[in-house]
């Protein structure tokens, strides 16, 4: 009989590294002319090397569900791509002892001209299902998606919600030994997300091995027993999901009354001309009920004149739940930016329960995301006792508003 000790890990990630050459390409891809021009100039290649991942090693045991967390640009997506064989590692080795299926998005290969039925077959086949497998599960897939009436209608006539449901339905019936999931849950309405989470919970309980990459800390906490925190391409911490999540939150910059430089934080995904430059708090530690007040400095490399920018702030707790979401757009305040630097004051009333919170900053202008710093600064709300009740552990609420309960 196999004991736990005899069992080999289903996935061994050994010293994985991935190097990218960063060339400053105009169109995102090389043109032959540039290549030839460079060759003629006898210049050494000016491209710089960038290690998206360095010496990443971990093991996954059969039946484990592991969450991989980290900020934008930490290397999560690169790891995911390597595990899914989409791009090879530059160094290191991965040994896999099971069939891997990866869901980097739902509905890959969906084509608007094909009918729902045809798309199920094509997408299922791409995901690694055999034709007989798809035929056998076809009715269940259709049932789960709830689009049976439109099976023979071209996909282009589907609403986006229907397309998403159909896509998820196909993915839900995958039966690999190892399932790798990217933040596919980040799309769709709340009801759909709930359905996805339930299905994933089911998969976890079935004892399937899952690697789940997400920003959504509460989803990771719910689904995964273990977590890995990736920072700057290396593993910062690994272990029990709850302790890794705590580490993630405490790895943030700490709120201070001095200005905190945000300009040096590495961003990979967003190449906006306008960035968050600094954040400065009015008070570094808040008492319960005190307004959250801080100033934000935006900077641009070149002078800009923008009449309409959108600054959004999310305040998350250490489980990743978003408790406050503020944006000038929500309250119809028009903000502009001119010159190369401007500051803005943010003032938020709060009745959050005492604890640790992190701030996510989001900046959009001219219709594109200029900057996005996830969980960038953490702050503390000191133990206050608004209700005067002695056993504060009994109080479950995430916010502690004033209330009254009276007999009528």
């Amino acid at each position: 009989m196999l004991t736990l000790l005899d069992m080999k890990p289903i996935l061994e990630i050994q010293n994985i590294g991935k190097k990218y050459r960063i060339q400053h390409l105009a169109g995102g891809y090389l043109s032959l002319r540039e290549r030839m021009a460079n060759a003629l100039k006898f210049e050494r290649n000016t491209a710089e090397d960038f290690w998206a991942l360095k010496a990443v090693s971990f093991e996954v045991q059969p039946g484990e569900s592991i969450g991989i967390i980290g900020r934008n640009g930490a290397g999560k997506s690169t790891l995911l791509k390597i595990l899914s064989k989409i791009t090879p590692p530059t160094s290191g080795k991965i040994v896999s002892r099971g069939r891997i299926a990866s869901l980097l998005e739902v509905g890959t290969g969906f084509h608007p001209e094909l009918t729902g039925r045809e798309n199920i077959f094509f997408n299922g086949s791409l995901l690694g299902m055999k034709r007989i497998e798809i035929s056998a599960k076809f009715d269940e897939i259709v049932d789960f998606s709830g689009v049976e009436k439109f099976l023979d209608t071209p996909l282009k006539h589907y609403s986006s919600g229907m397309q998403l449901r159909l896509a998820f339905a196909v993915a839900a019936f995958l039966e690999p030994e190892i399932l790798i999931i990217d933040e596919v849950l980040a799309v769709g309405d709340a009801e759909f997300q709930k359905k996805c989470m339930n299905k994933m919970g089911e998969v976890v309980r079935e004892g399937r091995t899952i690697i789940f990459v997400s920003h959504n800390l509460s989803a990771v906490k719910n689904l995964c027993g273990k977590a890995i925190l990736i920072e700057n391409g290396t593993i910062r911490s690994e272990g029990q999901a709850s302790s890794v999540l705590d580490d993630y939150v405490s790895s943030n910059l700490e709120a201070t009354e001095n200005s905190i430089d945000l300009s040096q934080i590495k961003r990979n995904n967003f190449e906006g001309a306008l960035r968050f430059g600094a954040i400065k708090f009015a008070k570094s530690v808040l008492q319960f009920g005190e307004n959250i007040v801080f100033s934000l400095v935006l900077f641009a490399e070149l002078n800009l004149l923008l009449s309409d920018i959108n600054i959004a702030i999310a305040i998350n707790d250490s489980n990743g739940a978003c408790l406050i979401h503020a944006s000038n757009e929500f309250v119809n305040i028009r903000l502009g930016f001119h010159g190369d630097q401007m500051s803005y004051i943010v003032n938020i009333t709060n009745n959050l329960r005492p604890g640790r919170y992190s701030i996510t900053l989001f900046l959009r202008a001219k219709g594109i995301i200029q900057d996005w710093l996830t969980d960038v600064v953490a702050f503390t709300i000191e133990d206050g006792n608004p209700y005067g009740y002695s056993n504060t552990n009994m109080i479950q609420g995430l916010t502690l508003p004033e209330f009254s309960i009276i007999a009528t």
Binding site: I86, I94, S102, E105, F122
Partner: protein, 275 residues
Amino acid sequence: MHEPAEYTIEPSEGRVLDWGELWRYRELFYFFTWRDIKIKYKQATLGFLWAILQPLFMMVIFTLFFGKALNIPSQNLPYPIYVFSGLLIWNLFSTGLTNASNSMVNNASIIKKIYFPRLIIPVSSILVALFDFLMAFILFVPILLFYQQSVSLSALVLWPVALIIAIVATLGLGSWLAALNVKYRDFRYVIPFLIQVLFFLSPVIYPISLLKYPILQYILACSPMLAAVELFRYPLTGIFPDGYFLGISLLSGVVLLAIGVLYFKRAEDFFADFA
């Protein structure tokens, strides 16, 4: 797709073709081809008829201008048969090459999200062209009957052989261009031009003997399509192509296949990053 029980993912230095893997993924060849054929003809009212109409129109035009007006010799065949037999196999090459060259770029969104042996994409796009070939071939039969053209029994062997040569040539050049196109989008503009040039360098609308200088004939023989076209026509003309030319042409087909597929395999690593 049942992977072997244990496998590794490693840096891919000197990776060669993994036949076992291609076999495991064999259903995807079918699905990609099936999808492309469906999409291609879905919105066309005449549907599959286009695969027949296109070579038919081309045959009529070439017959009027080259056969009648310029009186180009056609190896003792009625000129329409001469040109249609050439176009039949040529179109397999030109359509297949165009499809294959653009196939990786067109499927970029899939390549970035899911792994499968990438070679499936250009191969399937060539299989779509093979489908068109089969449709056009159906028209070839009544044309042969109309002109009461006799066909030697060697067709049973030589037609499939010519078909294989054409597919080898298409795959070699096609997979090469597909990979280059991902990295340098310039090739998008080169491909139609290249096909046009190769068309006039192949004995599709005129016999190679028309050229007076042997050096030109040798240059033409470098096209892998020479062997395909000449062998395809042999059961009709009874004129066997010059052994040297045939040899050169076959060799160039094989060399192209090797270069194309090897370059494609080497380029596989950056597809997800560049596509």
